[in-house]
Symmetry: C2
Subunit: 204 residues, 2 copies
């Protein structure tokens, strides 16, 4: 073995904790993650996780940050999977963003639910979110250059787009959207509306 993370008694408990916590979140929500429960599922004692994470919050923050990384990778695939010429691609990224949330509701909730995590700043989590945001900014800048969307502050535009997608994902996850049957249609309409508002056009 001799991984860089170490593999003493258990054999890389740190990675196992991250995976098991993510699994438990998917099964029963973040509230179901208990130091005792996760230890039991991994065959270690309740205090074992404290050798790898300062406290329960640190573990959850790490899981949440991993979620941001996964989401970013998924969007990156779309970003590089087609030419940046058409705003169509930006639209697909938005759709993929919401789809990730719909497929991983509890994980997504954890990523954005600061209340459950901390009242202090958790740099690890902030950085992961910022990386995602910067990716979006870069795509928007590219589309500004190609003339697809208005040449405003790209960061502000990125916040607007992010807000719309995150809001839709959040409302859906919390059960506030009753158009249960056609979430895909709603996702499309949301991306189209926002992009239309960002597009270059003659009138007005």
């Amino acid at each position: 073995m001799t991984d860089e993370t170490g593999a003493y008694h258990h054999g890389d408990l740190r990675a196992a904790l991250l995976a098991e916590a993510a699994a438990m979140i998917a099964e029963g929500g973040a509230a179901s993650v208990t130091m005792r429960a996760i230890g039991q599922r991994l065959g270690v004692s309740r205090a074992a996780p404290y050798r790898h994470f300062a406290d329960k919050t640190a573990l959850l923050v790490a899981v949440a940050a991993a979620g941001f990384d996964r989401l970013k990778s998924r969007l990156q695939t779309i970003d590089t999977g087609a030419p940046r010429s058409s705003v169509e691609q930006l639209r697909r990224m938005g759709e993929e963003y919401v789809r990730f949330a719909v497929e991983n509701p509890a994980h997504y909730r954890l990523m954005y639910g600061k209340e459950a995590l901390t009242r202090q700043d958790r740099p690890e989590l902030s950085e992961a979110a910022i990386a995602l945001f910067e990716q979006l900014v870069s795509v928007i800048q590219a589309h500004q250059k190609s003339g697809g969307i208005k040449r405003q502050d790209p960061r502000a535009q990125a916040y607007v787009a992010w807000s719309a997608m995150h809001g839709l994902a959040s409302l859906w996850i919390e059960g506030h959207i009753l158009a249960t049957d056609d979430i895909d249609g709603l996702i499309r309409q949301t991306t189209r509306t926002v992009l239309d508002g960002m597009r270059v056009r003659r009138s007005r």
Copy 2:
């Protein structure tokens, strides 16, 4: 006394619990609300709240629902405060929505944070949120008739607008928006972008 809620020993503990819980949420977040703490602050025992609310969740749900009511009233003021002729009014409603969230971050978080509240359906909370949504639908319908915005499914359009506003509020509250200095400008840009995407126009 002889209120409809009763005023026996304490003198309307139920109302006091709601008010005190809201105050504690504003001061220290929803996590700081403890049955023991709230009892102590009101000079009653830790079990006294259980005579008025089935459990802690029920209390928090009631507080959250009250938040939806307050928010709805606030938007209603704008809705009725000016003629519905201009979409300008819809824009102001959106801005007011986000402003409410920014001014009451912990309360807003509670309103939308299902995780902290329940895994079952809480009809009281759902109904309060739906009432808010229906208000938005009605305003949008009015603007469709006056020709300001596209004649699409008004509910779908309401979801889009709600998503954008809620998303912006949520991102801001969770500290993901670093343009700390000019939140008002960002709010304005968000409402304008979404409304532009919903507007009737010649091109395209």
